[in-house]
Point group: C2
Chain length 230, copies 2
DNA sequence: TTCATACTTCGATCCATATCGAAGCATATC
DNA sequence: GATATGCTTCGATATGGATCGAAGTATGAA
């Protein structure tokens, strides 16, 4: 009585601890080599190689060969979103022992989700954009309004550039730590890039954490504080 | 380097074919006995019993004892949503062989997703409600507008009743067949109930399929066709 | 009480697969 | 060419866990 797609196939793929560690590491958005992924998962290269083949066969990751290195990345934004949804489930159905670790705090505040910003600051930005009608829900999905175009334009993002690329401009992505939406899609990616470019924040090495500087945080607060450049 | 929740735990839980078949069966929203679930999964009672214990321990399902029967159901709307997201991934990353089966067609058009309607007709209704501003995206999430309250009121749904219950009134849920949102939450549940109560459609036995009668379909079309009772 | 049904527990089996050592390719560097 | 590095393939091992038969427990019916 199997109705619908074969869910067990990919759940099983994600369900191995070594593979899920690799996938989690790839949530940082960086493409990683097989050796790096092996060390992330705490296994040998041979084992990692066999796992990576399975992930490739399952179309969860893509590969790009560069010299003698093989760089792996998540196949798709949808894969990232699925992982976040699973994290949300794991978070709330987990036995109580899974309490807010010390390092967790930084992740909850701001982290990378594949290629865009996630965490409290991301959902606050999202809420701000919804609240000021910069983003609206249309039948076709989430859309950027004219006011929103001005808003991100003042932030230094050229929408014309983004629209040219393939893929959705705006996407919702469920935040596991906040249990609500943040912005994904190429606009989400551009916003994260701009935050980093302007030096408001920097990426923690070997982590998904995004660390804001005091000045950067203040500017971010001003951005969503009310006098957002509209 | 495990950051964030332990995703492997529940992915592994879902990843077993027998268990995923059980969970898929529970997506119909009906509570099923252990024996029924065993037959759905094609395994013996003993095996099913051990699987069900794991699902219980993992908080993916709940149990309600009734006499000598033990009725199992999905623990939560979030579990259902996660399963749908995984279905979407499985659908699109699956090797091409996964083509639209014959029975699939009905499921794509209208099916039950835990306790609300999914499929083409559900996403069309959702689009209609968004397009007419019956539903809007607020910082707090999806909300029903005043016009929307009138719309569903004319359809025979008393919002005051629903709001009293715990849980969210409106929720988005990603549709695996349409790859876009449909309406979940207690309002989604009420709409499905009303559709069935009015005899517009009936549930197929032992299936997630929802079959509309010609008359019911016509009325549904009229509802979203433009002169929706607003 | 006796029997039937629904389900669980126990024990044994058996298979999938995660794992790593060792060897093999391929690409880069000297 | 020789050597090092990144990665894969092969082979062997071992372990987890899915499976079912048989027996045990609980609830309901006769």
């Amino acid at each position: 009585m199997k109705e619908g797609p074969d869910i067990a196939r990919i759940a099983n793929l994600i369900g191995d601890p070594a593979r899920s560690n690799m996938l989690t590491a790839l949530m940082s958005g960086k493409a990683l080599t097989a050796t790096e992924l092996a060390s992330e998962a705490g296994i040998t290269q041979q084992t990692a190689s066999s796992h990576l083949r399975k992930l490739l066969d399952g179309n969860l990751v893509t590969i790009r060969q560069q010299g003698r290195h093989r760089y792996f990345a998540l196949a798709d934004e949808r894969v990232a979103r699925s992982l976040e949804v699973l994290m949300e489930l794991a978070q709330t159905t987990g036995h109580l022992r899974t309490r807010t670790g010390p390092a967790d705090v930084r992740l909850r505040e701001a982290r990378v989700c594949y290629n865009h910003l996630a965490g409290q600051m991301a959902t606050r930005l999202f809420d701000h954009m919804i609240g000021h009608n910069f983003l609206a829900l249309a039948p076709s999905g989430l859309v950027l309004t004219e006011a929103g175009t001005a808003f991100v334009g003042a932030f230094g993002i050229d929408i014309a550039d983004l629209s040219a690329r393939r893929g959705h401009l705006c996407r919702e992505c469920l935040d596991w730590s906040e249990r609500r939406s943040h912005l994904a899609g190429s606009l989400g990616r551009a916003i994260l890039a701009r935050i980093l470019d302007q030096g408001w924040a920097r990426r923690e090495a070997n982590s998904r954490a995004v660390v804001f500087s005091p000045r950067g945080r203040a500017q971010f607060e001003r951005l969503i504080g009310g006098e957002g450049a509209t």
